[in-house]
């Protein structure tokens, strides 16, 4: 009896989350019609559908996608494989670790002055944020006094 391609099954394990029933169905059907062409067609289609339905998570700062207590049941069915997070991914959707590194190298080689612009923008943003925090604190103190003493006792 022909055995199904291990590479095909490994690809399913890698790219299709919660695939146990699907892989079982493919193995069962492969017993009936042992065709490599059929299996690869099914595997590529399953990967394409999964990629469309579950776009890769690019949040770099979370280790697990689920709260541990919620990991057991998801959407009313058992979910034993919580999706892991790609720690090398960038915060921008579609730009992973390698993509981000390529952009950094490209910008450094072609237009290094962009980094200075970025630095100035970051510093400006930080200054604005600090100013807003100070202003908000000042305002909240004034509101607190207003609540305590009433409008007639102010100024």
């Amino acid at each position: 009896m022909a055995k199904p391609s291990r590479l095909a099954l490994a690809l399913l394990d890698r790219f299709v989350p919660e695939n146990e029933p699907l892989v079982g169905d493919l193995l069962e059907e492969y017993e009936r019609r042992p065709s490599a062409w059929w299996l690869w067609r099914q595997v590529f289609a399953a990967i394409a559908v999964a990629a469309f339905r579950n776009p890769p998570d690019t949040r770099p700062l979370k280790l697990l996608d689920h709260d541990p207590t919620m990991g057991v049941v998801e959407r009313g069915r058992v979910s034993r494989f919580p999706r892991t997070i790609n720690l090398s991914a960038g915060p921008v959707y579609g730009i992973g670790g390698v993509g981000l590194l390529t952009i950094v190298v490209f910008v450094t080689l072609v237009a290094p002055s962009v980094w200075w612009t970025l630095l100035v923008a970051l510093a400006g943003g930080a200054l604005i944020a600090i100013a807003k925090i100070i202003l908000n604190r000042h305002r909240s103190r004034a509101d607190h006094r207003h609540v305590l003493w009433g409008p007639s006792l102010r100024g």
Partner: protein, 111 residues
């Protein structure tokens, strides 16, 4: 007029095949039923995606069975159509029949 959620043709086929497969409907059985009755080749990944979507909408419910040897130790996922799913099938059928009615082109072919 009340807004109804009509099923796509593939969703309708999946639900009807699940109903025809009875209590022990699972992926392979549903796919075989569709292939047998319509001649349409079913991609298992697409069938599971449709079943997931139908479950999210409350049209089917699923439960996981025990692992079997012939499936490489993988468990089956059984599906059953919920009363809401049956209602969605009926509404889709009514909409299709309403579109079907009084079409001279179709009547000529019937004659």
């Amino acid at each position: 007029m009340m807004r109804r959620h009509l099923l796509t043709d593939f969703e309708l086929m999946i639900l009807l095949a699940t109903l025809r497969s009875g209590d022990e409907a699972y992926g392979v059985q549903v796919a075989r039923e569709i292939e047998r009755t319509s001649g349409r080749r079913v991609l298992m990944g697409a069938a599971y995606a449709a079943l997931d979507r139908l479950e999210e909408n409350g049209y089917v419910a699923s439960s996981v069975g025990s692992p079997t040897r012939e499936r490489g130790g993988r468990a089956k996922r059984f599906f059953r159509v919920t009363p809401r799913g049956v209602k969605a099938i009926r509404e889709t059928q009514q909409a299709l029949v309403a579109l079907w009615k009084d079409l001279p082109q179709l009547k000529e072919r019937e004659a």
